[in-house]
Homo-oligomer: 263 residues x 2
Amino acid sequence: MSAELSPAEYSPSQAREFFRHNVRPSSGYAHGYAQANLLSIPARDAFDFLLFAQRNPKPCPLLGVLEAGEVTSPLLDGHDIRDCLPSYRVFHHGELHGTYADVHEHWREDLVTFLIGCSFTFESALIDNGIRVAHIDQGCNVPMYRTTRPTTPAGRFCGPLVVSMRPIPAHQVSDAVRITSRYPAVHGAPVHIGDPAALGIDDLSAPDYGDAVKLHDGDVPVFWACGVTPQAVLAASTPEFAITHTPGHMLVTNARDLDYQIP
Amino acid sequence: MSAELSPAEYSPSQAREFFRHNVRPSSGYAHGYAQANLLSIPARDAFDFLLFAQRNPKPCPLLGVLEAGEVTSPLLDGHDIRDCLPSYRVFHHGELHGTYADVHEHWREDLVTFLIGCSFTFESALIDNGIRVAHIDQGCNVPMYRTTRPTTPAGRFCGPLVVSMRPIPAHQVSDAVRITSRYPAVHGAPVHIGDPAALGIDDLSAPDYGDAVKLHDGDVPVFWACGVTPQAVLAASTPEFAITHTPGHMLVTNARDLDYQIP
């Protein structure tokens, strides 16, 4: 690891190597490369979850799938999926069992691993197009909320849609829609613009995950489908066993953000 | 069924009702509505195929999945998937066992059904934009070819990419790319433009499926990923049992072609 490089300048391999030994949020590492949400579940539940992702592409856009017995993929260029994320969560029957820096001891041969797109990709595009991202400006995690909008069930999996919220000045909302709609593989266009109550969100200052952000006068709350939805679905559907990333502590992949941009 | 309606004017429900009692190609029925390729396979192979489709979205864009035990879906608005296509094929161990007007007698409770997008959707868009489609002008089926390009394997499924070919005048090739790229859910942009030999196609006049079409001077052969790919994959992967549509004899769905257009 070169001491001269800033985190943004790390290659994806350097970032994953760094996270083998360090626990911290992955935002800002390996600029230009896509980061991914992680879900590993036993093979007997894997068809149901793959179908759930197919039916709910906005919260669960799949970037890749590791079959049972596989622990690496071209997206992580030889690294081991069990230790190259900064932090993992292990769930038993939908309940959080613990948080770990690596999951070699918890791994099972029958686990199928889903890599799910992350909104970090389109946040770079928003910033590049002159739209400020509040939680980055305010140095915190994006606020996320469980909604009253259900996902489309598949087999044993069901649960509420989780959304992330970014306040956008009214005159830039249209641009934010246009820009993010070009990234359907990483949540795409917003699912809701304006009134939080219509999603069953009573209080924007009390997010269910992440941190509250300050809205400025004239800001409109804009909601995107969120890759934390699978964690709410785990709680609702209680599969026997699951491993996920810790929110904000993602897999840095070798795929470029631009690979997921459509014209 | 009203005697006054032309096939293009049928509603999707009227078309499916017609095909319950009539065996003929579905091209031209219920204009403006998406048609779909069919694949039904036992649940124990369903994860592998769903993953195959996820890894090969150009030949296998999924419009919907019926879980084991389901025989209808909102895409067919209450009709029974076992009799509302004009014609079906039953495969045993990858080999064609027979062709049938309905498959009630062959159905099994453990079948999972995949509905896969069809290029009829983008052909309408080509024609609407002034690009002629040779096999429609020539009154035959589109020519399709097994290529030497492999699909991305998943579990037990692998096999060659099958492509459809449409000759396009050189000055319109760019438009054809632009127009079809707006329909990623129905095969999207071409996978290859020009030299058939690069795909391992020796003779355009001898397609593996469908009919040969005449090329005019100045036409460029343009190749799109094809929904018949799963049938070549069945032959290569020999699952114990499968039901498909008969090529050209598709499911007429209630989804509008425009539902699959991106900006």
